[in-house]
């Protein structure tokens, strides 16, 4: 591997680690209380936020949107601490134009809490509270206001998602492992095919084995980092999710490849059987990782009705870190595989000299 490529690999990984850890999360709402209110009441909404600086951000604007064009604006806002606000609303006694169904059959985000200020930018929380349409005339003054689109600030930040919180950064350390694994195993299977076509020429068996070793190593890192991530977002290390199960099966199939290789004494026989097995292993890898998980419901993003590359899961700031991380780890994996291959090639050469 070219030394400049190695330099670029290290640079890309260093960049993805630094940017992945240093770019802050955008402000997000952790919790609101109360979660239900009757119409015709004054609402005192206690709000806890993450990563906010409300004390230095005046004025904060807040509103509860009932449908795309109507909103209830906060009558007053009290800043209690940098991360705590009390938003005061007057819920009118009349029937509210709350939109509960969306045209495309998706879950309605309304009532949608929206906040904006110069310091923290735009923050929102869907289905913020349950408004019971019960008539009482405590609050006559309605605080309806027209919906002027809030400007989002151009601050560089990763999106705040509930439950995920800071672990959204794991995207740069967990997902590139699978991308790198996929490419390394693909290179491995190419070498296996080349070996079967012309067994005498080149060092294809050794190359196939080395690339598979590093590929499986990345797969193991991917599955264990995924388990740690799952523990703190899905609730347990292993929730027998389709994606977890199928990737574990895929890795076991590849582990059998190494067992098979080590069980032959004769080099030619070993290379031939291993190459054929490698092709079958790769052929099962594709449906296991990319077809079956997509056919059933899964907790993992990208599965079932769960898009992996949706706007929020991977916004533009995240892409700027994610793609360099993918390229960097692929190159790093390639480098690792070439070193393993060269050591093995020396060993084979030595053994050939001895005989």
């Amino acid at each position: 591997m070219n030394k400049y490529l190695k330099f670029i690999a290290v640079l890309l990984i260093a960049y993805s680690i630094l940017a992945g850890l240093l770019i802050p999360l955008s402000t997000g709402v952790l919790s609101v209380l109360p979660r239900s209110i009757n119409t015709g009441n004054y609402l005192k909404l206690e709000l806890k936020a993450y990563n906010a600086q409300f004390d230095s951000a005046v004025p904060v604007e807040a509103r509860i949107r009932l449908n795309p064009s109507t909103a209830l604006c906060a009558t007053s806002i009290e800043v209690k601490s940098p991360n705590e606000l009390q938003l005061n609303f007057a819920i009118p006694a009349s029937k509210l134009p709350l939109q509960t169904e969306m045209k495309d059959g998706k879950k309605s985000p309304f009532p949608l809490l929206e906040m904006v200020d110069a310091q923290n930018g735009y923050t929102s929380l869907e289905s913020v509270l349950f408004i019971e349409q019960k008539h009482s005339n405590k609050a006559d003054t309605a605080s309806f206001c027209s919906v002027v689109p809030y400007r989002s600030t151009d601050k560089t930040s990763f999106p705040f998602l509930n439950i995920l919180e800071e672990t959204i950064r794991n995207l740069f350390y967990h997902v590139p492992m699978w991308f790198a694994m996929m490419l390394l195993l693909f290179v491995s299977v190419i070498h296996s095919i080349l070996y079967l076509r012309k067994p005498q020429i080149g060092d294809h068996d050794n190359k196939a084995a080395s690339f598979a070793t590093v590929g499986v190593l990345f797969g193991i890192v991917g599955i264990t980092t995924g388990a740690i991530w799952a523990k703190h977002t899905w609730g347990s290390y292993w929730s027998f999710d389709v994606k977890q199960n199928t990737s574990a099966i895929a890795l076991l199939i590849y582990l059998a490849y190494f067992v098979l290789r080590s069980s032959f004494e004769d080099m030619d026989k070993r290379a031939r059987v291993a190459a054929i097995y490698n092709i079958f292993a790769f052929a099962t890898l594709i449906p296991l990782l990319y077809v079956i998980p997509r056919m059933v419901d899964s907790l993992h993003p990208g599965m079932g009705n769960n898009p992996a590359f949706s706007k929020l899961d991977l916004d533009n700031t995240m892409r700027m870190v994610f793609y360099p991380a993918v390229v960097g780890w692929i190159m790093m994996g390639w480098w690792m595989a070439t070193i393993a291959m060269r050591i093995e090639a020396l060993k084979i050469k030595k053994m050939e000299q001895d005989t």
Partner: protein, 69 residues
């Protein structure tokens, strides 16, 4: 000081940390779950180091073979 030792111990042993009992007691849930990211990165680099050790042992054996002659 004692707290600091415990903190570093937990960073070294992500799997040995307390189970998630409640939101406030959960060490890994603190500060927006940033320690989950720390554990993931530690595991990633731990594996890379383990691979380097594996390669070095392979080289050691090869060197022994060469030196036998």
């Amino acid at each position: 000081m004692k707290n600091r030792i415990y903190t570093s111990l937990f960073l070294l042993l992500p799997f040995a940390a307390f189970a998630q009992e409640s939101q406030s007691n959960d060490y890994f849930g603190n500060i927006g779950k940033i320690y989950v990211v720390a554990a993931v990165m530690l595991l990633l680099f731990g594996t890379m180091i383990a691979f380097m050790i594996y390669l070095e042992r392979k080289l050691d054996r090869l060197e022994e073979l060469m030196n036998d002659d």
